[in-house]
């Protein structure tokens, strides 16, 4: 059985507007699964539902989220928080708001080790130094004493990656981890995440709107539209021949750097109309 298994997850805004429609997906231990879709497709919401940080306005109507074989939605709040804390972690989208500006970096990396694994601050400190070296931060002792505003965006994202991997979680949700960074840094960060993931054997749920990123990082992917998964496939098979017309159109719309003169291809009107109707029938 897969480590993360979501079945029939349906969520909506309190009052009716559907956010996720009957979403099912699984991520095996140590595998990397990509969630792709336009903004508003609900890809981030799946990650947030797993981690128990959905906005208050959104409620889960039905479905189950099995994390390591136990349904999170059936656990009492305290036990759920403890289980999520022990097994999962988040690499957030925006490194600029993801570190507490009024605390030094060091304790923010060691927090998880102290809170979740019950380590002493001293042990946690030593481990944090190793982790920072692992994400290729030079002079980690100095960085640990710095405040977030003293560091660049790429540096902060490295720190967040280090702290996500700190307590050896089994699953990491990476919510568009490179969107807020500039392109030159993006590639490096992706390589870093993938490398750590392989070394630690962590399963990774990779939320992104960039199919190019998916092709480099993920093993399998799900394409979302309007809160529904329209296609789930292995990455090789998908990029060779996408099955769903919307996925095909999305793939065709990805800019080709090999041909800089080519104009951008939008997703055709009729494909969107069709996929809308399909999702609404749902």
């Amino acid at each position: 059985m897969s480590f993360l298994q979501i079945t029939g997850l349906t969520a909506r805004l309190r009052g009716g507007m559907p956010i996720l429609r009957d979403v099912s997906l699984e991520v095996a231990e140590g595998a990397v699964h990509g969630l792709v879709g336009e903004s508003g497709a609900g890809k981030s919401m799946i990650g947030k539902a797993i981690l128990g940080i959905l906005p208050r306005a959104i409620e889960i109507v039905s479905g189950e989220i099995l994390l390591g074989g136990e349904d999170l939605l059936r656990l009492p709040a305290r036990a759920r928080r403890a289980r999520i804390g022990r097994l999962a972690a988040l690499i957030p989208q925006d490194p600029l708001t993801a570190l507490n500006p009024s605390r030094r970096v060091g304790p923010q990396v060691t927090d998880r080790l102290v809170d979740i694994l019950g380590w002493s601050r001293r042990d946690a400190q030593a481990r944090a130094l190793e982790l920072l070296a692992e994400v290729r931060i030079e002079a980690p002792e100095r960085i640990m004493r710095a405040y977030p505003h003293e560091l660049s965006g790429g540096m902060r994202q490295r720190i967040l990656i280090a702290s996500a991997f700190a307590a050896e979680p089994k699953l990491i949700v990476a919510d568009e981890p490179t969107t807020a960074l500039d392109v030159t840094v993006q590639k490096e960060i992706l390589r870093l995440i993938r490398g750590l993931q392989e070394r630690h054997g962590t399963a990774l749920l990779f939320v992104t709107h960039d199919l190019g990123v998916v092709s480099k990082v993920c093993d399998s992917l799900s394409v979302l539209y309007g809160g529904k998964i329209v296609e789930a496939a292995q990455v090789d098979a998908f990029f060779a021949a996408p099955v769903h017309p919307y996925s095909a159109a999305l793939l065709a719309a990805t800019p080709k750097y090999t041909d800089p003169g080519a104009s951008l291809v939008p997703v055709p009107e009729d494909v969107i109309t069709a996929v809308r109707a399909e999702v609404a029938d749902g």
Partner: protein, 251 residues
């Protein structure tokens, strides 16, 4: 060279504070001592002034400078005590409402709305009428009127901080809501609270002056800045009387 805009007000503030704190030793006269033969004297640099009464005297012949210094003590106590208490009450409720949201926010926010619908000065006068005049009544009145100012602003700030990713990260890491509030929210709204507190201290002094101006602060014998303006006003049309008012407004 330091920053002139910081130094000048700093010096003026220190002069006021020192004058107030050490009033019993520094004041040239007893602030309550009357001398009806020396009523309504102008300040020293005006012809006909009485030497020793630097800023002149009021209608009962009391030394204006001494009274100002003693009145400063009351203003200072009100500013510090009332300001701090209003801050504690308001900021606590604000952080709770802004971070916990839900029904807690509902109750606190509606309470603030209702509170702010009362005209503040009337509210204070009502309070003084019920509790009876006195220094602590003023302090309570200021707290009761002004906690909403803190609650509203701090709530908004706590909401903004609560939406940040580091709060989500803390929750993913299994932190309880209480711990998240203390470690993640509070330190980041603290600068806002501090700024509000400094503003509030000034406002508290003005409220105190307003209340004593309408004679609702402490016993009428004890000097207050507001009370002195009121007294000065009654003699403003008489020769020299205007000096009293003018001095108080300056404070």
């Amino acid at each position: 060279m330091g920053n002139l805009r910081l130094i000048l007000p700093g010096i003026w503030l220190s002069v006021l504070v020192v004058a107030a704190v050490f009033a019993p030793w520094l004041a040239p006269h007893d602030p309550l001592a009357q001398d009806l033969f020396l009523g309504r004297m102008p300040p020293v640099w005006v012809a006909g002034a009485e030497p020793g009464y630097w800023l002149g005297t009021d209608s009962l012949g009391r030394d204006v400078l001494s009274r100002m210094m003693f009145a400063g003590r009351i203003a200072l106590v009100v500013a510090v005590v009332a300001g701090t208490c209003a801050c504690l009450v308001g900021a606590t409720l604000g952080v709770l409402a802004g971070f916990l949201r839900g029904w807690v926010d509902m109750v606190i926010s509606r309470l603030v709305d209702i509170w702010m619908a009362f005209p503040p000065v009337l509210f204070a006068i009502l309070l003084v009428a019920v509790l009876g005049p006195g220094l602590w009544t003023i302090v309570i009145a200021v707290v009761v009127i002004d906690w909403t100012r803190f609650a509203r602003v701090v709530r908004a700030e706590a909401m903004a901080q609560g939406a940040m990713d580091y709060v989500a990260s803390a929750q993913v890491a299994g932190r309880t809501r209480g711990a998240t509030m203390m470690a993640e929210i509070l330190p980041n709204v603290a600068p806002t609270i501090l700024v509000l507190l400094t503003l509030e201290m000034g406002i508290a002094v003005i409220v105190e002056a307003i209340l004593s101006f309408v004679n609702l602060s402490i016993s009428t014998d004890d000097p207050t800045w507001g009370g002195m303006i009121a007294e000065g006003r009654t003699s403003i049309h008489q020769a020299g009387g205007c000096w009293c008012s003018r001095w108080q407004r300056f404070s």
